[in-house]
Symmetry: D2
Subunit: 383 residues, 4 copies
């Protein structure tokens, strides 16, 4: 294929050319006196992206899944009770992890297409007078359904109940693209990865933790751990080093990525994501299709999961887009398989690219038998 397939999955996202160039480098000595000149400012700058007021950020050579695991095993003990909700493939997997790591999950099973159930959370927390719940989990952006939840609302529920539980947020497909105010919202562990809003290849698990989480980690009885243990990282990170060989190439890329993020400005980035997502949603509307997200308040600005009409196979849409129009869309996961396709609209993205993908999707849908007027989606988006 002469043209590389256009990538509109909700991660890995498109790597900006400047980041790609910055990663095209030879290996370096991660124990040299020069290395901390790279790493220390990166640690500091990451705090700004998460809008932290205290705590620190860990960078693991892993994926977001590793950062999930690190958050749990460093702060909780086997058998601890936690409050979670499930409304899509990624919140589902997080629950699965929590259970496999030995936690007792108080689970809110929600309709896919909705998000964190604030009222239920408030009720449960209010009733938990003995504070048996040690941590509350919230998926900031459910990538499978294109649903964004209200993290400030979760904080309110905790505060209303005067509940001391830790607040864990999965913002893998949010951080860097959606506003994440760890300090203001009292988030204790915010899980992210390199391959979404940070516009890098997969390979870094990025975990931002509050001072409260760091304190929790020091208590006895936490889970067994080593690879993703915070204590080893704290000791070495403070000097700009790592307890084992870090992924230097990606950290160099992250440096450039952060430069691009601050050059554009976080608030401008959030506004751009909203603007482009509105364009995509206008097209979906113009096509007469429906989003998986049940309500406007759940709309995600980083990914849209779109139902195909009855009788159409979403997997055929995906294949047609890929093989005929050279465009990678996101697949429907788990019970949404065959029913939805997803358009990732996060990271390094602009109007042109949104126009391109809507154009490609429009033709794909028509080819697959969906009755749409060509130009309706792109036209609506352009408005």
């Amino acid at each position: 294929m002469t043209v590389t397939p256009h990538l509109f999955i909700p991660g890995p996202t498109n790597v900006p050319d400047k980041v790609r160039m910055a990663m095209n480098l030879p290996m370096e000595d991660m124990r040299s006196g020069e290395f901390p000149k790279l790493t220390l400012p990166v640690f500091e700058d990451l705090k700004k992206v998460f809008k932290m007021k205290d705590g620190r950020v860990f960078i693991f050579p892993s994926s977001g899944t590793g950062a999930w695991e690190s958050a749990i095993e460093n702060t909780l003990a086997p058998g601890d009770k936690v409050l979670m909700s499930r409304f899509g493939q990624f919140s589902l997997l997080w629950v699965d992890m929590a259970e496999r790591l030995g936690l007792k999950v108080e689970l809110c099973d929600e309709e896919w297409g909705t998000g964190v159930p604030l009222e239920k959370y408030a009720d449960i927390l209010a009733k938990d007078k003995n504070h048996e719940i040690k941590a509350v989990f919230a998926t900031h952006n459910e990538t499978a359904t294109g649903v964004t939840s209200d993290i400030a609302g979760v904080r309110k529920a905790l505060d209303a109940a005067k509940h001391p539980a830790l607040l864990f947020v999965d913002s893998v497909s949010g951080a860097g693209s959606l506003d994440m105010r760890m300090g203001e919202w009292g988030v204790d562990c915010c899980v992210s990865g390199s391959q979404k809003g940070f516009m890098l290849p997969t390979g870094l698990g990025i975990l931002a933790v509050s001072q409260k989480a760091l304190d929790a980690q020091k208590q006895a009885g936490r889970m067994n751990r080593c690879f993703l243990a915070w204590e080893d990282h704290i000791k070495t990170n403070d000097l700009g080093y790592f307890p084992y060989t870090p992924a230097t190439q990606l950290i160099r890329g992250l440096r450039t990525s952060l430069d691009l993020i601050f050059e554009e400005g976080l608030e401008n980035i959030f506004a751009r994501h909203t603007r482009l997502a509105n364009g995509v949603r206008a097209a979906v509307d113009a096509w007469g299709l429906k989003l998986c997200a049940k309500d406007k308040k759940w709309h995600s600005d980083t990914v849209s999961a779109i139902y195909v009409p009855e009788g159409i196979d979403a997997n055929n849409v995906l294949k047609t887009a890929y093989y005929r129009y050279n465009t990678s869309l996101g697949t429907g996961l788990n019970k949404l398989n065959g029913k939805v396709f997803r358009i990732g609209h996060l990271g390094a993205l602009d109007e042109f690219m949104v126009g391109g993908v809507l154009f490609a999707v429009e033709m794909t849908l028509k080819d697959c038998g969906v009755n749409i007027k060509l130009g309706s989606g792109t036209g609506a988006a352009a408005e």
Copy 2:
């Protein structure tokens, strides 16, 4: 800027990722025993792109302009009479070069938006009983106006007059994207460059010459020359080497580029260019705008020059596209400046990219005060 501006000028064109990767290499010894293993097949494969039946291809570290000059100075003598036509900025520059190099130009000055005047050529050649005209020049694809001329028709005019003049063709923005049958059409010098259909950075002048041109070069009295002299290249090229340091990085890129070209297939590439160009023209039509090309027969499948309506400044369109929509369009050259903008649609291009550029142009035009219906162009193109 996080996203690199989208490039829709009619050259340099977008470099495919595989070519970019192939050029990301260290320097090499251009006198090593391994080097001819790269160069000899490249020379052979270039012949296939030009559909030559004899002759050879030169690769100069230059641009297309250098290849123009090389064609002239190796085969003609100062004072020689040549037949040329002028109907756009690039045919104009070629005439200028011919005159500056001391040729006597019999010039057909045509309306911009038309191409090589076959009837006039036929008349002039028929009248030139003494064969004073030593070479006939034809611009295959006039990049400034988006006009493709009929090279087979020029050959017919020559044959009808039984005229022995050499046939020179500028196919800088044609070769690799439009059909070029040097053998069948009796083209003696076909000028091209790396940065258009060959999908490479600027830096290689590619000059394909017939046996008849090689014979002409051997005659006494040709122009003074050295840098672009064929004789030095012939001597060394036959062994896989060059008379001075070649641009090894670009030749490595050309190897990959040729691989991509043959993988897709020349005829498939031509068909793709036609299909995508039809999409662009459908959009122009839907917008109610006019092409610079006066007639369907002149339509270029590699670039469209589009008139803006009266009262609109085409340069404002260009700036808006660039600064607001991150998209590089081609400027109006010479007397078309301010009146037209151009969309390059050649090289590594697919439906997605055409959709993206039409989407960006649509919004740009609206912003600039052109009264168009958003979605009309992309919709028409998608059909």
Copy 3:
């Protein structure tokens, strides 16, 4: 700095240009129909590098440390007894991990500069009639001291005792550079990473496991785990996919790396490492310095740890090499800090590079007050 520092740490090693070029690519859809065409052959080819007769290879987005942890937590239960030996910083860290993950370690504490104590292992295993020892650990190549241990010897000890324990080998700085015959030697878990013999950036934990290890994993009571759990990978790897986003860029690089490995041939690679290591050792000898490895049988062909003379600070040697001669050497770890420096001689390496590093070290040592004859080391190595 115009010239990138020359890298002679024992990992990350130098990335070959072809691998670097292969990784300079855009992101791709790890759920596309094309992706398994990359991954399935990579899984198969890795088996050849480890000379496996059964089992499979896991590729985690992690470092070697992650692969260590994966090996333990998938096959052992908390409280299981294991036999380990400690004779350098990396075997020390492995023991530390085993203890933190809840294993009961029967430890052989050996002099640094020696390796796995075969006789002691044999004795202990013979005495373990009840087979309380569930796994025997052996560090194939101790990177801190430049010591290679005899894995075939460990197998013999197990066989002599008819002991069913699993055999775990850390070959992070061995695999791909030193012979690793998992099938013949009955290795059950062989831990490796991308950044040594595989000549890639850090970021992949590569874990090769036998069928026996896979069987062990299926037993009840294994440790809690999720991120590095085999079961999720097995399910998806068989189809060419991963349970979460894989590090596609590195896997593309690994493809090229494996191509280079098979092009040169494993046995040729091992022979090259021996030849170049002999050169380094000849230089050390000519300089009148001593290796950390106590005996010829412990000599590592991938890294040499070299004692500086009394009164010389090895850290000063490292700094001088880096800042004056643009050369990164390996630091002395733990109790060897200040006493040794290390030369990594593994991966993409040839005579020229060994000559360069010996030349740089020679001048460095002289600058640091070591009394050596310039040219003695390079001369000895050249012989």
Copy 4:
């Protein structure tokens, strides 16, 4: 081959990683409003490298040979008399070009291994009372023999004769590595290229010209020209543009290259070249071999041409170095073929690399039957 051959030809030289990274970029619009922000400072910075007091620098998409031709055809008329000297392959080729372009060459044919004959030049100029000589040519650094000539001395000869001729200098393998004081020495045309001291791939002809040369260009009767004509470049360069598509990728690389040059400092670069060249020469001496340069005053700090002993075939040395030791040395050109091999020691080079190449050459020479003591060369160099 896993390790890319080590490159020690006198150009193309090794491209620094930062330059390579900077060139790994997509194509850009060379007519955009942003482009002059790149080009205008590059033009200015080049003047500093050439230490000009007036005039300007042209950047052609060509090689050094193109810049040679441009210098001649823009300032001289066919039939003009020029003073040249010939003492190696490149000065020979320059004479050849001058003659082919129609100049009348007053030639000093010197022994290869010597340089510009200052006394003869002084004599000839003194005798040329009518100032028939329009230009004096001097090869600053003869790459074929490793001879540097005294350009200040040529200026003295001109001044002593009060001769108004233009002074042309070929500094292709000098500029950026050897001191070039165009202003102080009154050099009118200084020819260079991208692939030597500028540490870039081949593809840019860099021509620095004084105001006097610019004035000469304006006179009537200069040679026919177009591709390399200054007038077109002047008109567009002043605005940051070019008369035809420039090699944007290389100009981006040149930006980074210039940054590296100024970061190190020109005088530091010259000193480094001298220091490293002294190392190479010490090794040649220790091996008992002879340089092609007849006298210390001719020693080039950028390249050494080294005679092999009688009975040894230099081409065998080259092949052995390349195929057995993965090292590219420079071949003996023209009548030196088979008798010398060359080591390029210019551009991005440090001690390590010199150590590496001497190590490789030492082993190569021994393999080829030259009786040398291994370690003697590297030892001498290290001193």
